[in-house]
């Protein structure tokens, strides 16, 4: 199956727009983006591994996870859930953090993930604004 991948950058707005299709139904794709045990299996680019320390998927909750390097160094990131519309969209505020979720820099990004069910596939649209 041909799966769409679109990656657009608006440098002036400091925004990245990504659209990607996945060959699975909405329920499964939604779970893959929101459940720690699934996220850990695909979030890390090789040779890194993703390891979740905390996950509380609800508005005001957070996901604290690490990218673990081959020599076992943990680089933590924190994702705070701002707004959740089940099986439709969720928005987050993302920062690099320490192991307790304290931000490491003032920089953060605001991300909105939207999900649209199709025939035998699901389209995910990601809008990332760097602040």
């Amino acid at each position: 199956m041909n799966l769409l991948f679109d990656f657009k950058v608006d440098k002036a707005a400091k925004a990245i727009y990504i659209t990607r299709e996945f060959a699975a139904d909405l329920d499964l794709v939604w779970d893959a983006f929101t459940k720690a045990e699934i996220l850990d299996q695909w979030q890390a680019p090789k040779p890194f591994k993703a390891r979740t320390k905390e996950m509380n998927f609800q508005e005001g909750g957070r996901w604290l996870y690490a990218m673990v390097s081959p020599d076992n160094v943990y680089h933590y990131s924190m994702v705070e859930f701002l707004e959740i519309r089940p099986k439709s969209s969720f928005s987050t505020r993302n920062t690099f953090a320490d192991e307790n979720g304290n931000p490491k820099t003032n920089a953060f990004s605001l991300v909105k993930n939207s999900f649209t069910a199709g025939t035998e596939k699901t389209t995910v649209h990601i809008e990332k604004k760097i602040r």
Partner: protein, 106 residues
Amino acid sequence: MRRDIFQAIADPTRRAILVLIAVQAMTPNAIAEHFDITRQSISKHLRILSECDLLAKKQDGREIFYELKIDRMKEIDSWLDQFRKITEEKFQNLDQLLFTLKNKKK
């Protein structure tokens, strides 16, 4: 203070300044002549661009010339390039995982 490089290009005047000095080194006065804004706000934009480490200063007699540090501008592109590659790779991981998960369900 060091600033995020994205801050530099967020502003249209600063983008225009970068285009000007990419061609040739210019004095603040020469830069200001291209804009309909006060010399003071040009100085402010130049200060922000300096803080983003995008400007190289050259002294020539009594005059100061600004030129663009091309390498720093390239950093944005290489970051975006890297981010795109990582995103593609993550999604390919997910494709495989979804395939496995779907077969488990059956």
